[in-house]
Structure formats: C-alpha cells, structure tokens
C-alpha cells in the first residue's frame, strides 16, 4: 500500500518533469529557425552519429527491463549484471553527447552563437543532465541490490529508478524526432 502510493507519486513527479521538457521543446521549436546568420541544424548534425546514440539508449532501456525482471525473480547476480550493461550503455551515450557538444564548441558553434543553438544545447543538455542523475541513481540501485534483501520496499525503489530511465528514453525519442529528424528534413 505504501509503495503503491510512492509509485503513484513518482508518476506524478515524472509528469512534472515532462512539463519541464515540454517548455524546453516549445522554446526549441520557436527558436529553431533563429540562427542569426549561424549554421542551422541541417549543417551541424550528423544523422549516423545520432542514430548510434539512439540505438545505445534504446538498448539500455531493453537491458534495464531485463534487470528489473531479474529483480522480481530475486536473482541478484543477473539483475546487477543487466543493470551494469544498462549503465555502460548510458555512460557511452553520455560520452557521445559530450563529444558532440565539444566538437560544436570547437567549431565556434557554441550556445552563444545563436538562439537556435542556445535552445539546442539547453534541451539536449537537460536530457544529458537527467541521464547523469539516472546513472548515479543506477549505481546506487546496484549497491542496494547487492546490500539489501529484495523486500517489496526495496523492489519499489529500484522500480522507480527503472521508470525514470524509461522516461528518459521516451524523451530522447522525441528529441531525436524533433531536434535531429526535423532538422534533417525541414
């Protein structure tokens, strides 16, 4: 009953986070053509690179579910293994994103260049910030699986972490579509 409320409350929190992203998305859509003489998304983004990022994150969502499955089956070693795989995928994703950012900044296209780039860095960067929080949370969760018996309370805590991770994946699908996809086509 208690963890039931907690999961419900966490869903409500996720919705508030979604609204934060909604604001960033609308800011991006309003500003995406305001390049102020600078480069547009079409000139900057490399689709194969972003597709690799996307596949990494989608894989991590799958492995995260596998980890959760083994948590429910009370198989600690397998659960930790799959969360570790998820963690590595997430970390590689974050690394690729930081690489993309640093390349842009090196090329003189930082967030100060135009309103379009400001909104791009903020939207994608906020997602990356959430991913970092998710990674910290995931390492705590792995410790928790290792240290604590898997009572319903502990499972609920790990479940909420997994929810957060899936949520970030869904947000990324929209970023992929709106930021990179629309930038490529339109």
């Amino acid at each position: 009953m208690v963890s039931d409320s907690k999961v419900f409350g966490f869903w409500v929190y996720l919705m508030t986070d979604l609204i934060v992203f909604a604001v960033l998305f609308s800011a991006f859509i309003v500003l995406r053509n305001n390049t102020f003489g600078g480069p547009s998304g079409r000139e900057l983004f490399s689709m194969p690179f972003v597709l690799t990022e996307t596949l990494l994150l989608l894989t991590s969502t799958f492995t995260c579910s596998l980890g959760m499955l083994f948590v429910h089956r009370n198989q600690k070693r397998s659960a930790i293994f799959w969360f570790l795989v998820t963690f590595v995928c997430g970390l590689s994703f974050l690394g690729m994103e930081l690489f993309e950012f640093s390349e842009l900044v090196k090329g003189g296209d930082s967030w100060q260049r135009s309103a379009f780039l400001s909104s791009f860095f903020t939207l994608v960067g906020t997602h990356g910030f959430h991913i970092s929080i998710g990674l910290i949370w995931m390492s705590v969760a792995m410790f928790r699986i290792y240290l604590c018996p898997l009572t319903s309370d502990v499972i609920s805590k790990i479940f909420r972490m997994a929810l957060f991770w899936h949520f970030l994946d869904i947000v990324w699908v929209f970023i992929f579509t709106v930021v990179y996809g629309m930038g490529h086509i339109l």
Binding site: G9, Y13, L24, Q112
Partner: protein
Amino acid sequence: MKKNFFTGKLTFESLPDHWYTIGGTVFIILVGLIVAFILTKKKRWKWLWKKWLTSTDPKRIGTMYMIFAGLMFFRGMLDAGMIWLQQSLAADSQGYLSSDHFQQIFTSHGDIMVFFVTMGFFFGLMNWIIPLQIGARDLAFPFLNSLGLWLTVSGGVLLNLFFVIGGQFANTGWLAITPLSELEFNPGVRVDYLIWSLQLSGLGSLLAGINFLVTIIKKRAPGMTLMKMPLFVWTSLCAMVLIISAFPVLTATTLLLWLDRVLEMHFFTAGFGGNQMMYINLIWMWGHPEVYILVLPAFGMFSEIVATFSKNQISGYVSMVWAAIMITVLSYLVWLHHFFTMGAGANVNSFFGIVTMFIAIPSGVQVFNWILTMFKGRVQFQSPMYWFVGFLILFMFGGMAGVFMASPPADFQVHNSLFLVAHFHTMIVGVALFGIFAGTTYWFPKIMGFRLDEKLGKRAFWLWFVGYFVSFIPLYILGFMGATRRLDHYASSTHWQPLFIISTIGFVIIACGCFTQVMQLIISYKKRKEFSDQTGDPWDGRTLEWMTTSPPPFYNFAVIPNVSTREAFWEMKQKKLPPSKSYQEFELPKNTGMGIYISVFAFFAGFALVWHIPWLALLGALGALTCVIIRSFDKHTEYMLTAEEIERVESSRGQG
C-alpha cells in the same frame, strides 16, 4: 563584473552600505540574537529541534508554514507602506526613494506576497486541515512534507539575504520581465537573487503539490468517495493539479532566463535571434494558473464556513465541484489576457478574451450557491462570516472589473495602469487574504485549543474592509485617469496626488487592522482559559476535523472513521453514533532532520549560483544528493504505536 574563483562575484563592496540595507542587516541580527537569547535562557534549543524543526507531523509543519508566512507578511506589508508613502509624496519631486530603490520595493513586495505569504498560509492550513477532513493520520509522504517546508523557507531566506549581502534586489517587477532582467540591462546579481529564491521555493511548492495530490487520492477514510469529499479538499485538489502542471513551467522558464544571464545564451535577448515575448508567454503560462492556485483553496474554505455558520449543507455540492474543475481547466487557456497589447492579432485576442469571460460562469455558480446556502439556512454572524460576506462583495466587485478587462479593446485602455493593480489586489486581498483570515479564525480553536476574541476579530474585519475601499477605489479612478503602475514620481498637474494620499490613508486603516489582529492573537492567548474549546467542535461543525479533540492528538484519529455521507461528522452527531474504541496498532513516521540538511545544502547551492561560485554550488548539490541517498538507505523511518499505547494516550486525554 570580475569573477574570483573562490568568491565569485562577491567582494567587500557587497556588504551593506545604504541606510536600508544596514538597517535591515542590524534588524535581522538583532532579532536573531534576541531569539537565541530567549531559547538559551529557557533551555529550549533541544525542544525546538526535536519537537518542531525536525517534525514530520503535518500539524506542526502547518504551524511552521503559518509562522513563516506571518513573518513574511510583515515584510510584505512594510514594502506596501513604503510604496504608498512614496507615491503620495512624489508629485513634482522624487519623494523619499530613488527610482531604483522604489523598483526594488515593488518587486520584492510582489514576490513575497505571492510566493511566501499567500502560498505559505495556504500550505499551512492545508497541512492542518486536509488530513483531518479526509480522516487520515498523515500525508502520503511525511518526509517530503518536511523537505517542502524547508525548501520554501530557504527560498525565503535567500530572498531576504540581499539585505546583508549584495544590498540590491531585482528592479524588474515580480516576474522579472525580459529584456530588463537580461544581463545586458541588469549585470549585477539582483535578478539572480530573484531567480534562485523562486527556484527553491518553487521546488518546495511542487513537492508539497505532489504530496497533497497523492494524499487526497490515496489516503481518504474508507467510504469517502471523491464526491463525498468536503469542498475545501476538492478545491485544494484542483489547486494541487494546477501546481503540478504550472510550477514546472516556472522552473524551466526562470532557468532559461538564468542561462541567458550566466552562460550568455540567447533565449530572450534582444539580439542573436532571441525572443523576448516568448518569456512573457511562458511566465504567464505559469502565472495565470498561479492566480487560481491562490484563490481556489480560499473558495473551498468559504464553502466550509458558509455551510457551518448557516447551519445548512452547502447548496449545489455537485455544481460546486464542477465549477472548481471548470475553473481549473479554463485557467490554462487565458494566459494571453495579461498582454493583449502584444499584438497577436484580433483572432488570438478574441479567443483569449472570450475564454476569460467564460471563467465568470463557474465563479457565478459558486457565488449563487454560497448565497443560496445562506438564504436557505439560519445564519449566525460570527467573525468568519464577516470575512465571508466581505469576500463576496469584493469578489463580485473585482470579478466585474476582471470581466471588463477581459474585453481586449477595454483592456488596451487600462493595460498596465493602476486600474489593473486595483483589480488584482481586489482579488488577492478580497479572496485569498480574506480567505486566509476567515479560515484561520474558523480553524484556530482546532489548531490551538482556544477561540480567537470575537470582538477584536470583527473590529479587524471592519478596519480591513473599510481600509480596502479607501485604498483601492482611488486606484481604480487613477487608472482611468491614466496613471500607469510602478510610477515612482509624476507631475502634480495630473491632479493625482489627492487620490494617492487618500489611498495611503486607506493603507493606514488596513495597517490598524493588522495591528488589531496581532492584538487579537495576544489577548486571546492571555484569555485562553476563558476561550478554551473542550468539545473539539466549537462551531457545531459538519466535517471530520471537528470529530477529534482541539488540538488533535499527534495521530489525529485513534480509530479511522467510516464515512457514508458528504457531511460525515454531521451525520454522526444526528444519529448519535459514538466514536469507535476498538483500537488497532498503526505506524507513524519518525522525525527526521534530513529535510533541513538537504535544504541547507540547497540554500548554499542557490547562494553560490547567485554569486557565481562554482565550487560552492557543486558542494551544495553534492551534499543534497548525498543526504538523499543516505535517507534512501534508512529502513527505520516509521515506528509502531501499539493498541495499549493508544488507549493510554486516549485515556490520559480524557477520551478513553
């Protein structure tokens, strides 16, 4: 401004050097010393920490919210008085304040009154009353409740810290309107103070919002379906839905503004493709729902009060619920009426104008239901009813001014004038503040165990009510005469000065009302034996909060009541059902200092982000994160209260 790695933008020049910042600093230190002295002398430090600051009991948290809001109210009223004094002096002269100082005052007045006073009082009353009204022992997340309180407090402290460090608050108006709040025009840290105090308190409000929503959905007593909830719970639920959906917008928008300021991004700048009107749109997408966050709980309180004192159930309960829901939905669709002058075109303006007028329909439903409740009942005019009738008059008055302004052509004439200022003060004073006064008077015996002095309460009402008209009617007239808001001086040939002076007299009357309320508190406390409430039900109430003693035991209800009708307690009294004595053990949350630790770290992070001190910001964030992780490993957050203990407590309270 040069930045140092260790101190950021902080220099010795940031120390107070004006009369008001030195005065403010000395005042803060003096009050702190006096409080510390009293606590040490009475050996109350441990009591304060154990019983109050670390408490997870919603009743104690509610009281702390209200004390905090009361302190901030004093601060906000001082600002108001300074604004009025300046405007009544400044014909053909600069008055006694510089333009910049005057701008800081109206900015902090707005932020304090909205974020800390009104929301603080509402969260305080909700913490007290909602668990009692839904027959629960606690909120869904007691620790989150404590954290929400302390984040709000740390936001309030950060806001007032500018007196001591920095010496200047934002001069941008309470919403930090761009491009004035951008780095180009506001290079110092004053706008950052505004941004980070709102971020902290906004996060606190958001946590409280989630908490109350889950509590109302999940923790109602058995038998209490949604359509059997008291109306205060309903309107609070609506306000919480608004908080949950609107406050993230505030967080995101002020974050974008801060990014513009610190990383030199271009969301709202004049150059580089930024869009200033996007800020105005975003901030009002939060701002308009916020207006209803401030008034909806008051509607609910008045519904409770009018039913109790009319000795009649509320007329048209179902229509009242749907009216509240209608208001909730419509409040998302009207944000553009705050800036019809943007130039969005006739079609857009018509849409927003018409939707704004629609809000009059559910509001009217509520007004007629309140009047019908009185009409069909036997009204007892005790002081909460005075506030209620005053509210009805002001609400209709201000509401009509609002419908008038909902028409874009009319709005173009009075946009940004004192007419607007008078309108929204009618709503916030007449609805939110009168609601707070009515609700506090009504529930005071439940909270403290004794009633407030009726005579002084009525006197305070008349001072507020008359003072309100004397101070705000001139502002309506001034608005029509062309006086814009936020004027620090004007030409005497406008003939505005007499009206400004009358308005200031009105403020003096209101201030006398506040003074009477303080006296009312002191005198009632002195006569607490005479006014004490032994029954737990001093007004012959109808809802569950009157079922327990005044004040309630720390677990609210020894046995959770079963609910079968809308007015559960009224039914129990009619059928003379005695409360059940079959006690069963239950769990209660332990006290924890974690909420305070996290908020202190968050406060330092906020302070560091204001002054651009990266290492301190990182330290604050890491500290808060570490506390959260430590807390998540704590398995012993609750304790069990056995049936024998409950019986012992109940019999020691004369309830056994």
